[in-house]
Amino acid sequence: MSSPNAAYPDTPEQTAKPKRHEWPLWEVFIRGQHGMSHRHVGSLHAADEEMAIKNARDVYTRRNEGVSIWVVEARHIAASSPSDKGPLYEPSESKVYRHPTFFDIPDEVGAM
């Protein structure tokens, strides 16, 4: 077989405990058996995206929940700020005419 990799010289005895590097956090989205879209189910830690998918498979699909898994590193998600709640959402509260509740939807359209 190959010779031991020269990149790993003998490690000297360490007196202090090695620093614990936390794996990054990943958000997990699963599309269920009959689900139309992926839904956020939770989060987990993993070293890279492949490991995150494997971990998601083991943590979140043990009971046959899913047919598809998405993972995204949590730091890549941009989120709105709760303190902006007023300007962001309140203006739409009074605009009832934006709801499509005044129409009859034909059955053939299916789930919306």
Binding site: M1, Y8, P9, T11, H45, K54, D58, V59, R62
Partner: protein, 255 residues
């Protein structure tokens, strides 16, 4: 299917079932102790897969034996000398790296074996293999990735993985040693002769270990005596005292 000696068929089925039973129990020992939560759950899933496979193998073994014993009887009421698992799977967990190395070395064999068994002339054996193989494909992918990740990781993880490989490699050979039982299974088209699985095993394991920057130790020495029941290592007896104590202390207890 050619007629096959039922005692030899029973022996073969015990070998399959005892491998998954003993390894499944070993892996379950990690439950609540793994280095991170995600690995803990993954190991528990693997252990449960293996115990599930055990129920099928030992269930069929009990049926073939025809002495009114159940899979549970075979698992919980036999003693060390009746077990037919290879020595590799009864070896202690060691650290997490050693556990994953043992897992990978077994998974790679398990996958080749089950792949061959899906074409078995024995219908039930082919069906058990077809059900198990999907689980084992995932096992080998996961354990192989972990071996690569830790082998080609930090200098400490690399050292630990190399130590694990040096420790466990002498147990690999036993998985490919054939005997009269294997000859009979091969003649009846029930199972492959284990030696025929070696080339594919070496190719897969060699590629993963090379990527993991680990070296396979020199020398062809192989510990043996587990699958024939001739001589298990001292670790199996200690494990059975844990695994079987409840049925031994409270015979027939169920829930």
């Amino acid at each position: 299917m050619a007629a096959v000696d039922q005692a030899q068929l029973f022996e073969f089925l015990c070998r399959m079932g005892d491998n998954t039973l003993i390894l499944g129990h070993r892996v379950s020992e990690w439950c609540g102790h793994a280095p991170v939560l995600e690995e803990d759950i993954a190991l528990a899933n693997t252990a449960l897969d293996l115990i599930g496979q055990t129920q099928m193998w030992l269930g069929l073994a009990a049926e073939v034996e025809g002495k009114a014993r159940s899979a549970d009887d075979l698992a919980m009421l036999r003693d060390v000398w009746d077990f037919r698992n290879v020595l590799l799977v009864e070896q202690p967990n060691g650290d997490f790296g050693q556990t994953m190395m043992r897992q990978f070395l077994f998974d790679a064999w398990h996958l080749e074996m089950l792949t061959a068994l899906t074409g078995s002339s024995h219908e039930q054996i082919a069906a058990i293999a077809a059900k198990s193989i999907k689980e084992v494909q995932y096992h080998v992918e996961r354990s192989g990735d972990t071996v690569i990740g830790l082998g080609d990781g930090t200098s400490e993880s690399h050292q630990r993985m190399q130590q694990a490989l040096t420790l466990l490699w002498p147990y690999v050979g036993e998985m490919f040693l054939g005997d009269a039982v294997d000859d009979a299974m091969a003649a009846a088209g029930i199972a492959p002769n284990p030696a025929t699985l070696r080339a594919a095993y070496d190719a897969r394991v060699g590629a993963v270990l090379a990527e993991a920057t680990l070296s396979i130790p020199d020398g062809g020495f192989a510990h043996k005596g587990g699958k024939t029941g001739f001589q298990h290592s001292e670790h199996l007896g200690h494990m059975l005292t844990q695994m079987q104590w409840l049925q031994r202390a409270y015979p027939g207890a169920s829930w």
